[in-house]
């Protein structure tokens, strides 16, 4: 039987705020345990939650970015369960009336083997505001667990999709797109190691061609795209094998073990699932007006899809180039800055996706940490365009600039990379080469095209690589046909 995998994602994005969602405690990552755990985080008797305006703004921005319905009135609810890192005994979340309703994200699934790349629309069911829980630390004291409540109350936006994805590749393409988007609109720093962007993946399988969804298992807390691929592929295989062996899938929460590459059931869900949500009497309904949306919308940056279209239309970039350059706002801004500083757009795109990105990758940096400014890079590209240096020499200049050896022109001068573009000088060199290589000239005249390239090589060598190759070609051709 042929099987089809059905995948939906729930993503917890930590919102970029200074303080917690319901109190004025700081949320700096890596602080000493419990130094950011105020009385609200500790759930001391008598404390009341007060909603953070910035967290609400982030949610509205996200809603606008995915063209979603933003609820004019949404309600906070208590999700009740007992765990030591949740001292209140409930998490404040949203249930029936979330702040962001239905929206959509368009993903680009890359080509794989003989399957071509394609686009697909992934529907977003909802996104709601909630607070994070604290953290359990094991091993500090024997037979005890330690609780750090610094993270308790950190604002999260949980983004839930429809079960629209049909492969690990689609799920990862969606997760990457969402990751790019939340950073683009500046609501989340996207740091997956620190847990600012965590994905839960619901996986089920069904016979291909059938409608009814299979029983799903939820893979919790995936914090890298690589693990996500591995976990989904393992889980899919496991479910298919279980069903083909006559077994049944039990609804469960599973964890992925990166060391073994396997998923393993965590706990039975039947009881844990009974969260007995009800509206939190400590919080009033959240009202968002058209004016709020308009004001926040006016401050939004141009969205990646719009910018991609603009890069294609305004700068003549290919769809591929435009989409590579709009994977992050910083990258796109850097590109526009190079072009604004006078560089050719296509050349700028090639350099950014070539030398610049290779260098950044090798040093595990992002464009913000690039040691060459957009203006400097534009200057370098201008020096190629005006014939001062060759492409090869430009690569050397680039390396030197990266190493902080100075500006473009001083490096060109210091390394003697300036191209010889003086026609007289090049003619003199070529005359010498022709005189010294009579045999090659004869071969060329006898119809051997290869001899021409050999002569160009000789001329370049004689100029110590500094002659402008285009000029050498042109002058040589003229002299040989004379």
């Amino acid at each position: 039987m042929e099987w089809e995998v059905v995948i939906g994602l729930e993503t917890h994005t930590q919102l970029q705020t200074n303080t917690k969602i319901f109190s004025g405690a700081a949320i700096k990552y890596g602080a000493e345990p419990n130094t950011q755990a105020c009385e609200v985080s500790l759930a001391l008797p008598g404390v009341l939650p007060v909603l953070n305006k910035q967290a609400v703004h982030c949610a509205i921005k996200f809603g606008l970015a995915i063209n979603a319905e933003i609820a004019p009135r949404s309600v906070f609810a208590r999700k009740n369960y007992f765990y030591p890192d949740l001292p209140k005994g409930y998490q404040i979340s949203q249930f029936e009336l979330p702040v962001v309703g239905k929206g959509a994200v368009t993903i680009q699934v890359p080509a794989q083997g003989k399957n071509a790349a394609y686009e697909k629309v992934i529907n977003i069911t909802r996104a709601h505001l909630e607070e994070d829980a604290g953290k359990s630390v094991h091993g500090a004291v024997e037979d005890m667990s330690g609780i750090d409540l610094n993270r308790a109350g950190t604002p999260l936006l949980e983004i839930v999709t429809e079960p629209d994805m049909r492969s690990a590749a689609e799920a990862v393409a969606y997760a990457k797109k969402l990751h790019e988007l939340v950073q683009w609109i500046d609501i989340c720093d996207g740091n997956m190691q620190e847990g600012s962007f965590r994905c839960d993946v619901n996986v089920s399988v069904r016979p291909k061609g059938t409608e009814k969804l299979g029983t799903r298992r939820e893979i919790k807390n995936l914090n890298s795209f690589k693990f996500m691929t591995q976990a989904i592929e393992y889980e899919t295989r496991w479910q298919i094998e279980t069903l083909e062996d006559g077994g049944k899938i039990q609804q469960a929460t599973v964890l992925f073990n990166p060391d073994t590459g396997e998923t393993r059931a965590m706990r039975s869900k039947e009881e844990a699932n009974d969260y007995r949500y009800f509206p939190d009497p400590d919080l009033l309904p959240l009202i968002i007006t058209e004016a709020d949306k308009a004001r926040i919308g006016a401050d939004m940056p141009e969205l990646p899809a719009a910018m991609k279209a603009r890069l294609e239309a305004q700068y003549g970039l290919s769809s591929y180039d435009a989409s590579s350059l709009t994977t992050s706002k910083d990258l796109a801004d850097y590109f526009v800055a190079i072009v604004d500083a006078g560089a050719d757009a296509k050349q700028a795109a090639n350099w950014m996706m070539g030398s610049v990105s290779a260098k950044l990758n090798s040093e595990d940096k992002n464009i913000k940490a690039c040691s060459i400014s957009a203006q400097q890079l534009a200057q370098l590209l201008t020096r190629i365009a005006d014939g001062t240096i060759s492409n090869n020499a430009a690569k050397q200049v680039f390396e030197a600039m990266w190493a902080g050896e100075g500006d473009v022109d001083s490096i060109i001068a210091a390394k003697g990379l300036k191209q010889e573009s003086d026609t007289g000088a090049i003619e003199a060199i070529i005359d010498e080469v022709l005189a010294a290589n009579g045999a090659m000239v004869e071969e060329f005249k006898a119809g051997k095209e290869k001899a021409f390239n050999a002569l160009v090589g000789q001329a370049m060598k004689a100029s110590k690589g500094k002659a402008n190759p285009a000029q050498v070609n042109e002058i040589l051709k003229k002299k040989l046909s004379a």
């Binding site: 004025g24 000493e32 005890m144």
Partner: protein
């Protein structure tokens, strides 16, 4: 809606309330009474009425995103639950609150 003894035990467990067998049937009677009252209220026609999520018809005030809390860990941890076994020391170590070992 009819409740069973099992429902009472389940709800008590979810709320982590210890309830003796003797109290279970008394609780069943009381809770059934409350549900009866709710059933009576549900008979009222509420077509076209927006459900309230709060008893006051107000909207949520928002707080500016400014740090107002300082680190009072030492004060708070003096009040942490005691270690137990007669110890009067708060159950804290290395800045962490200690709880019985959590096994996942």
């Amino acid at each position: 809606m009819a409740l069973s003894i099992e429902d009472i035990k389940k709800v008590a467990h979810l709320a982590r309330i210890a309830i003796s067998d003797a109290d279970t049937s008394a609780t069943l009677t009381k809770l059934t009474g409350i549900l009866g009252l709710i059933e009576q209220m549900q008979a009222v026609d509420t077509t076209g009425i927006v459900p309230m999520s709060h008893s006051q018809n107000l909207s949520q005030r928002l707080r500016n995103d400014v740090v107002t809390k300082t680190n009072l860990r030492d004060e708070f941890q003096k009040n942490a639950p005691k270690l137990g076994n007669g110890s009067t020391e708060p159950a804290v170590a290395d800045g962490l609150y200690l709880v019985p070992k959590v096994i996942e």
